[in-house]
């Protein structure tokens, strides 16, 4: 990065990891029927941390982050988000969901609403903001993801990269404490990947707590302060990006890294 030293220190200070714990997962297990998809997961995330999760397809990465906002239910162990334990209490779950933003691989925008309406729906109905304030916030975030001029278009009229940025803005409009990304660039054409990654880098520089499932190793080494490698439903290795890429400990990690780099 060729940023000036002044900017660098500012960025550094914003990207500081605090010691306030926002997600605490201990001894968590999940099954799909008989299939043991997540096994003994322990993970602590501090406020301001940027975590990248990688691992082979089917290793349970999506399931893990979907457990954090309870799109999936876990069967054993404890997940605490912002100090609140996830259980069957619907009210708590709704509250957690409004504090945790999520971005999906397939965008999942609401096709019958414009980009702006996609962004204002939840603020109006969940945060109970007046329509005018919600519009303002939505425009603010659409500007942050650099597509304010597309606000009145429907998702079908936007390119994949633009749709994914609207999806990021939609999540940000709830002003969440934590953002979850599930392979946000996997469904995109190569020339659009960069625009989405740039948006995510900016978010990270603003100090957002992020958990990102991705195979974009450039992104991981640039913004992550921890990389987690998963295989067969377990966390096999976690380390700083530098150590993780240069000096992987487990054989599976080595194999995985050689596979995604050799092509």
């Amino acid at each position: 990065m060729s940023a000036s030293p002044a900017k660098n220190t500012k960025t550094q200070s914003k990207m500081m990891v605090t010691d306030e714990v926002v997600i605490e997962i201990s001894n968590m297990n999940k099954w799909f029927g008989h299939f043991h998809v997540l096994r003994d997961i322990d993970l602590i995330v501090n406020k301001g941390e940027r975590i990248v999760i990688c691992g082979p397809s089917g290793s349970g990465k999506s399931t893990l982050i979907r457990c954090i906002n309870r799109l999936e239910e876990h069967q054993k162990g404890i997940i605490k988000v912002d100090g609140v334990e996830l259980n069957d209490d619907v009210k708590k779950i709704d509250k957690i969901r409004s504090e945790v933003g999520m971005v999906f691989q397939s965008f999942n925008l609401f096709p019958h609403l414009t980009a702006l309406e996609n962004c204002t729906l939840a603020p109006v109905w969940v945060r109970k903001l007046p329509k005018k304030d919600a519009d303002e916030i939505a425009m603010k975030y659409l500007e942050i993801v650099k597509i304010p001029e597309q606000a009145l278009k429907y998702p079908g009229q936007l390119s994949g990269g633009q749709q994914q940025r609207v999806a990021i803005a939609r999540a940000l409009c709830m002003e969440p404490k934590i953002m979850l990304f599930d392979e946000p660039t996997s469904a995109l054409d190569p020339e659009m990947i960069k625009e989405v990654l740039d948006t995510m880098i900016e978010l990270a520089e603003d100090g957002m707590t992020m958990i990102v499932v991705t195979h974009e190793m450039g992104f991981a080494s640039k913004v992550a302060n921890r990389v987690i490698f998963m295989d067969e439903g377990q966390i096999i290795e976690q380390n700083s990006p530098k150590e993780f890429f240069n000096n992987p400990k487990s054989d599976r990690t080595k194999l995985f890294l050689s596979q995604i780099i050799d092509h």
């Binding site: 799109l71 969901r97 933003g101 999942n108 609401f110 969940v126 079908g156």
Partner: protein, 460 residues
Amino acid sequence: METKYSFVRKDLVSEQPPPLTQVGITGWLWRNLFSSMSNFTTVTSSVQSILMIILTIWLLYFCGGQLISIIDFAIISAVWSDPDGLKREVCATVKQGGDLPADWYGACWPFIFAKKKFLIYGRIPNEELWRANLVYAGLFVGMGYIIWEKGQGRKWVGLGMLTLFPVISLILLTGANFDISFNLILWTGILLIVSYLVGYFSSRNYFGEIFEQFSILFNFLALILFLFLALLILFSIDYGLAPIDTLDWGGLLLTLLIAITGIVASLPIGIVLALGRRSNMPIARVLCTMFIEFWRGIPLITVLFAASVLIPLFLPSGANVDKLLRAVIGIILFSSAYMAEVVRGGLQAIPRGQYESASAVGLSYSQSMRFIILPQALTHVLPGIVNTFIGLFKDTTLVSIIGIFEVMGIFRAASQDANWGSHVQHATSYLVAATAFFIFCFGMSRYSIYIENKLSRDNK
């Protein structure tokens, strides 16, 4: 060195008109008609072309013949007036005692003119027709306004048409002033107050956590009781209108009344049933599935006979629910089962990602249904919904078999009038009935196609 293949265009080609086979009437005829029957390059395509030519000629001959006989019946051979008030004789052949040739076959329009009032209103007394006219006027003006895109506040007019208009219409048509027992009003009132208070206090957590979850249920119950009480009181007031028996309502008025009530009620009930059938709660799912399968499993005729003959046997003596009301409720339940399945099809077409992203932004179940899932699902299945509406509209003719005189019943009754007895009255009646049904059903179909196009234009 220059190669031989080198080529640079000097003059750009200007835009040229398309060939005649692409545009205008000739183009249309070519694309839709002749292109399929003028290819003789190979054996198969020649055979295809010849078959298409034969099929086309046969269709032209057959449809043309049918069209000509209908025009002949309805216009050319038809009797148009009855200046001398002959009634029966004006449409009778020589043999039947009239002046027309023995092989005469044409429409008898004087008969329809004479029965006009009967066909439009049924047996409502002449001096009360203004009440039915008010209902007709309200209906057409209100619907027209909702359809008219530039109208201000169409939403509010629509809401009024769904809530106030039916109540006012029923008061006008029945005359209200029902003899409703004081006890019924009293008990409804007491239940209303109780459920309101329980709802109020449980939502403020007076009775503990468990009750709090049910507070919505009590509030809902209170709302229903309130509406019921309001209706009881509204219909027991004497507005100075002479009572009209519902069995005197008839003809077009009754057909529209049954069809519109059925359509308006079956959509929301169908939506609730469809959501219930897909819900995670086993009780709701089982109840909704049973309800849907039960009503889909019996023919409408059986439902109507049960409503007219069977139900009264089970009612406590003295309790008397209007026969028309029973039939209408039967029709509503019957068509909401069909509607539920149509809506369920739409719900299944919504990708899981939509449900997930709706919950991920924090929308509750009812919010995500209302803002995300149902708008998309209902748009997908609009053709199916309108299909069910049209089916329901036509099925209203079945109530004539339990002695309720909607359009078909009234036509049958009219053509049996001895004063008009002649061999053409049935055919004339059915032609008019078919035309009336066609106008309404075709209108619905066109309007739905218009809405479909509009929605897909908006979303693309």
